[in-house]
Symmetry: C2
Subunit: 309 residues, 2 copies
């Protein structure tokens, strides 16, 4: 794979950034990688692990001379980072991000970027429940979707280059409108996470069932909820605060639907329940056929690639 | 491992029964295995795969001469099966079941059993999203909990023998009161399943987001919901219809909690969200430490033991 960028700068060095760095190195997609993180501890780990060629104290230093800048900070921090790096961005540089919400990021970042850079917001639909500079691995994006949400005026050559960069890491790249992205992601990610957090919270403070019982008997379904409810709290707080309307809309639909099922249970409407549960199997089949999950039975002791913890 | 039973009869030959049979054979826990299933197709597969030593047309024939009878049918069918086999049970035989709800099974089965048999209801906290006579594998119960819910009058020797039998298959056996079991399982299994079914249903009939989008972008969390929402519809219909009160109680708590989080999102209470999401990580750690899940990152392409599909 040919080098697509001379110097890639990462602002934020968590799961996504560190996975991108491993993938860039493996596939030779960039000549040099610089990076910074707000926490001194994270920067120290990045130096110790030689995660980046250059680790800087500030975002401004990190982006100097970079032809690609990747914002990998929580959504709530995007605006401040953009304001800090704006004056230091090289002419013709591309700026992208990996935030799970796109409209809010565009509104926070765009005002701070000079006219001589290309802003191409992005979102890799990939991740694990782990966080931090040591949680990344090069395979994270393989066969996973990467959504780019450029606006109509964006330089197509910059978009094409960023697309090739992500494809080089194994991702399936598609373009989408920012608002539609934010709705789709509520359904496939944001609402499921909030619901998982909620169920885990209920279990945690239910006096009549002990935490130890919940933990011991989790293999029957609850376990899958706790996995996604273990994701980074700051990232998720920002997702919900920055995708409010779509989140509340889908949660409203969810509650409506849940009440219908509750009513079927209360009234003993077995036919309704059976039909409903049968319908959901089709979507599952679709996900397996689309290669976005394996059909192998999951019973929580899977040996997977990626770092052992 | 020494043979604990001469002849074990399985009524119903799905995931749990077929997994038990593979485990019994591997560990030499019984001399002979008989089995039957309502569907002729399932019985044909059982014959073809030599799953049982003897496959019978009826439950009555299957239990003849068995010193252990395992009821592996949906909860709604337990009563009728008990009525059919009652007159054919051998004196001193132990009857158990693997239903996910215990009080309703006890009420449905007990009236049909003769005084000369021992009824020791059980529930293995293990499973996958697959069903049928070919979905089982011998490792399913290893390091998983098996709950026995005998009543005060149950013969302790019969309980001890059944405990040794499950321990021989690798399970961690505990005893619990039936009503408490039914509440704990709503939290760790029934409610999570209903919620997963609901979210998948919302995604499925949301006009503005296509099924294909939901499927392609499922790796961000939704995927874990579809996995548990792919479980057997008949089994789950019966679980909810037969554990109504506890299910509705916990769903009530869930909705209350969800509304509190919705309100925090609406009012922009980031501190509340962050605290909440942080608290849920502790339970996740507990589950991993208890060996009920792996800490390896889950990104849906795990290579696991068990049958390839």
């Amino acid at each position: 794979m040919s080098q697509l960028y001379k110097r890639v700068a990462f602002i934020g060095l968590g799961l996504i950034a560190s996975s991108m760095i491993h993938a860039i190195r493996r596939h030779g997609l960039a000549a040099e990688i610089t990076g910074t993180a707000r926490s001194a501890e994270t920067r120290a780990i990045a130096v110790e692990d030689k995660l980046c060629d250059i680790v800087t104290e500030t975002a401004a230093e990190a982006v100097a001379g970079a032809d690609l800048v990747v914002l990998c900070v929580p959504i709530g921090a995007m605006g401040a980072v953009a304001e800090e790096i704006g004056p230091h961005l090289a002419p013709g540089a591309t700026v992208t991000d990996v935030g799970s919400v796109k409209r809010a990021v565009i509104e926070a970042v765009t005002p701070h970027l000079p006219a001589h850079v290309h802003f191409v917001p992005g979102h890799p639909i990939a991740g694990t429940e782990h966080s931090g500079p040591r949680s990344g691995f090069a395979e994270l994006f393989e066969n996973r979707y990467l959504l780019l949400v450029p606006d109509a005026g964006t330089d197509r050559a910059a978009v094409a280059r960023l697309r090739a960069f992500w494809e080089g890491m194994g991702a399936l790249v598609e373009e989408m409108d920012a608002d539609h992205h934010d709705l789709v992601l509520v359904v496939t990610s944001h609402a499921p996470h909030l619901i998982a957090y909620t169920m885990v919270g209920v279990a945690d403070d239910l006096g009549r069932v002990t935490d130890s019982e919940v933990i011991k008997y989790s293999a029957a379904g609850f376990r899958d909820f706790t996995r996604i409810a273990a994701s980074d709290p700051t990232m998720w707080r920002d997702v919900f605060l920055n995708n409010k309307e779509a989140t509340l809309e889908i949660l409203g639909r969810f509650t409506e639907e849940l009440f219908a099922l509750q009513r079927a249970i209360r009234t003993g409407d077995g036919a309704m329940l059976h039909d409903y549960f049968t319908r959901t199997r089709a979507i599952r089949r679709g996900i397996v056929e689309a290669g976005q999950d394996t059909a192998a039975p999951d019973f929580g002791r899977a040996a997977v690639k990626g770092p052992a913890e």
